[in-house]
Amino acid sequence: MTDTTLSTQESIFTSTARDWSSDMSTFKGVPWGKAMMWIFLLSDTFIFTCFLVGYMVMRMTVTEPWPVASEVFALTVWGVSVPLLLIAIMTFILITSSGTMAMAVNMGYQRRKWAVFWLMVATAALGASFVGMQCFEWTKLILERVRPWYNPMGAPQFGSIFFMVTGFHGLHVSVGVAYLLIVATRVVRGKYDHTNFEIVEITGLYWHFVDLVWVFIFAFFYLW
């Protein structure tokens, strides 16, 4: 027993070491586009990290009161104020879209083009509805007189950082929607027939990343 576990562990290290000390490619069998997307996402991670670090610094240093998340982001449904209702739905939608995306990737490797197409379109639709709900939320806050430079409930930085970070994330989602639709169309048009459909997986990487970032934004902005 112990022998086998040890040997598998060893083989992970040795295979990594072998790949890194080999010629031609470091990540064996990984297409260029996929490697490039991973590196891009690493870079993008730092963008969001910097934004979130900025947020934390603001949050910890401002002296004026910070609005209470459960009150600001509450929706009144049938006369009952439900905290974080909209956000819960948005988060649910985005996570669902990650699920459809994963299915699309799976279909891609089975070369089922129409399945890929519809799943990607579904993902894009979920993403678009996410952006739509974000618009709704922005409108609601703006009607409550929250502005990037002003916030009736206290620290003006709340408005600034909220609109900036969710806006930047929303931009990512919107770009992702466009990206998904383009790739989906090109898939059914047969542009990728000569490949292994790794483009679907690459698109998926981006989409999952955007989704993951949302989880952090959700945690920091709505639960803190």
Partner: protein
């Protein structure tokens, strides 16, 4: 693995452009893109050079009638533009954009970058960023005069020239540059990791590629911080948010800001700014290592140590940023941590210097023009490095920060040194790029003017810092700390700067003249080993190699191997069977 791996580039046909525009303007050939990057960077660098000469004239001859047009506003705009252009648009763009593009595919034995179209886009977006930067001279109020560090609140308050439009063009230009850099950088890294040729393991790569590799990696991690701070500052400026702006009264007017953190900007800026130093220095290290080894006809001493030093410096450079902020008012305990990490970085850096010098020992040194630049680099880098030990040690930084000591230090370490590496690299690779040799005599004259001139500028300047001459002073006037003799030293420095500036004409003349009239270059004029010298044609055609990519059998530093006929063995020569 059962299947034999084949370099992917060997299996896909290369698309050759038909038109002249496709070949030379919107070219996807990495060599053409390298030249485009290089020419643009040099052109914009020339602007920065001229700005610096005006600054020097103002510092040395305040009140001289000829300089009357040069007001304090102009001076501060000049220091800002000079700094930003030199650091970002010249050094980063040249070392990564030009050398990166030229060297990476050739030295990796690749046909081109992995995504040539993105690579081409990278150049055009870079050009766009340069144009936006230059537009700042034509917007109302002129370019920003906030210093290249762009510290708020100063950048966007009325006491600074270019506080509204100038800063906007600057920040937008930076953001666009970051987009360009990201597109290029993704290509370099993916090419190095995934598109090497047969037999080329990471530990057989020339150090130039290693330097570019780690530098690009740092760039992709560090530039986001600059991007974010640029976005936030733009919002502060145009939407009135208060990220970096506390409640301030600017020139009698209460501004509508409250609760922002000026120090947050500084942290973000230097989280980019310090790795930026190494983004410039690491490729220069790599180039110099190759130059010294080739022209000394001896293997680089301690190759593995050199690689690990590059990696270690790169990693450490991410946790030293606040040594630029010792007097910024951050929590004082940070001083202990950042002073320690900063001085630790001195160890791998010093090892690199030792190894360059040890490479000279019992070598067979050819004093060629590239070698001259390489040797000069080592000396200026030693000076820049050890003055860095002064400034990195928190308590010594207290009296020296914001003085000419700092100016001299960073010009020595990331102005003169990388520029010397760039010159060395150009003299070294020009024959491969154009098929013609640069004129040797002009090269030597250019070298001596540049090296001795810049040393004469920056070495004495350290001592101005010791007596307390503050940097960024339009005019010092007569002050107790500033004796007449120091004014004379300033005049001397200015004259040296003018001579250095003018002598660059020689270089440009040499580049242009040799392109048309230079001696025809042999395929491997320096007797070097790395792959770029093994191309079937000089200059290499689009696609670089024959149908089959070259196969690498050894590292790039087999010089003077005992028992061999020639004193160098190219990487493509198979190893002999064990005797």
């Amino acid at each position: 693995m059962a299947t034999v791996e084949v370099p992917y580039q060997e299996t896909v046909p290369l698309h050759h452009p038909k038109t002249w525009i496709g070949k030379y303007i919107f070219s996807q050939d990495h060599k053409i893109i390298a030249v485009q990057y290089g020419i643009t960077a040099m052109a914009v660098g020339l602007v920065a050079l001229i700005l610096s000469e005006f600054m020097r004239l103002q510092i040395a001859f305040p009140g001289w009638e000829f300089m009357n047009f040069f007001t304090a506003d102009h001076y501060y705009q000049a220091i800002t533009m000079h700094g930003m252009i030199m650091v970002i648009y010249l050094l980063t763009a040249f070392l990564l954009g030009a050398f990166g593009n030229f060297c990476v595919p050739l030295m990796c034995g690749a046909r081109d970058m992995v995504f040539p179209f993105v690579n081409m886009l990278s150049y055009w977006v870079y050009l766009l960023s340069v144009i936006i930067l230059m537009i700042s001279y034509f917007v109302p109020g002129g370019p920003t005069g906030a210093g290249w560090t762009l510290y708020p609140p100063q950048t966007i308050t009325a006491g600074t020239p270019g506080f509204d439009w100038g800063i906007a063009t600057m920040l937008i230009s930076l953001a666009v540059f970051i987009v360009a850099f990201t597109m290029g950088g993704l290509n370099y890294i993916t090419t190095i990791l995934q598109a090497r040729t047969r037999g080329l393991t990471l530990m057989r790569m020339p150090l130039t590629v290693w330097g570019i590799f780690i530098a690009t990696f740092l760039g992709l991690i560090a530039f986001p911080a600059l991007f974010v701070s640029a976005v936030m500052m733009l919002l502060d400026n145009f939407l009135g948010t208060s990220f970096f702006m506390p409640a301030v009264v600017s020139l009698g007017q209460k501004l509508d800001y409250s609760g922002g953190q000026p120090l947050l900007f500084q942290h973000l800026f230097w989280f980019f700014g310090h790795p930026e130093v190494y983004i410039v220095a690491l490729p220069a290290f790599g180039v110099i290592s190759d130059l010294i080894s080739v022209h000394a006809r001896k293997n680089i001493f301690g190759y593995r140590m050199m690689v690990w030093a590059i990696v270690a410096i790169g990693a450490l450079s991410l946790i030293v940023w606040a040594h630029h902020m010792y007097v910024a008012g951050m929590h004082p305990s940070f001083g202990f941590f950042f002073a320690t990490t900063t001085l630790i970085i001195a160890v791998p850096t010093a090892l690199k210097v030792y190894n360059w010098i040890l490479t000279l020992w019992r070598a067979n040194i050819r004093i060629t023009v590239p070698m001259l630049f390489a040797l000069a680099f080592v000396l200026t880098f030693i000076v820049g490095g050890i003055t860095g030990l002064f400034l990195g040690n928190v308590i010594i930084d207290i009296p020296l920060s914001d003085t000419y000591f700092v100016v001299a230090h960073f010009h020595m370490v990331m102005g003169v040194s990388p520029i010397l590496a760039i010159f060395g690299g150009i003299y070294h690779w020009y024959p491969k790029l154009t098929g013609r040799m640069l004129n040797d005599t002009i090269g030597r004259i250019h070298f001596y003017f540049t090296f001795i001139g810049t040393y004469a500028i920056y070495f004495p300047m350290h001592y101005l810092g010791f007596i307390g001459v503050p940097r960024r002073y339009y005019e010092t006037g007569i002050s107790e700390f500033y004796p007449i003799a120091a004014h004379n030293l300033n005049k001397f420095i200015t004259i040296a700067a003018l001579i250095v500036g003018i002598s660059q004409v020689l270089f440009i003349y040499n580049l242009v003249h040799s392109y048309f009239k230079g001696k025809k270059a042999p395929a491997n004029p320096w007797g070097a080993n790395s792959l770029e010298w093994c191309t079937p044609e000089t200059p290499p055609r689009h696609g670089n190699w024959e149908d089959r990519l070259p196969t690498v059998h050894r590292w790039a530093y087999d010089f003077g191997v005992p028992g061999e006929e020639k004193d160098h063995i190219p990487q493509t020569v198979p190893r002999r069977k064990a005797n």
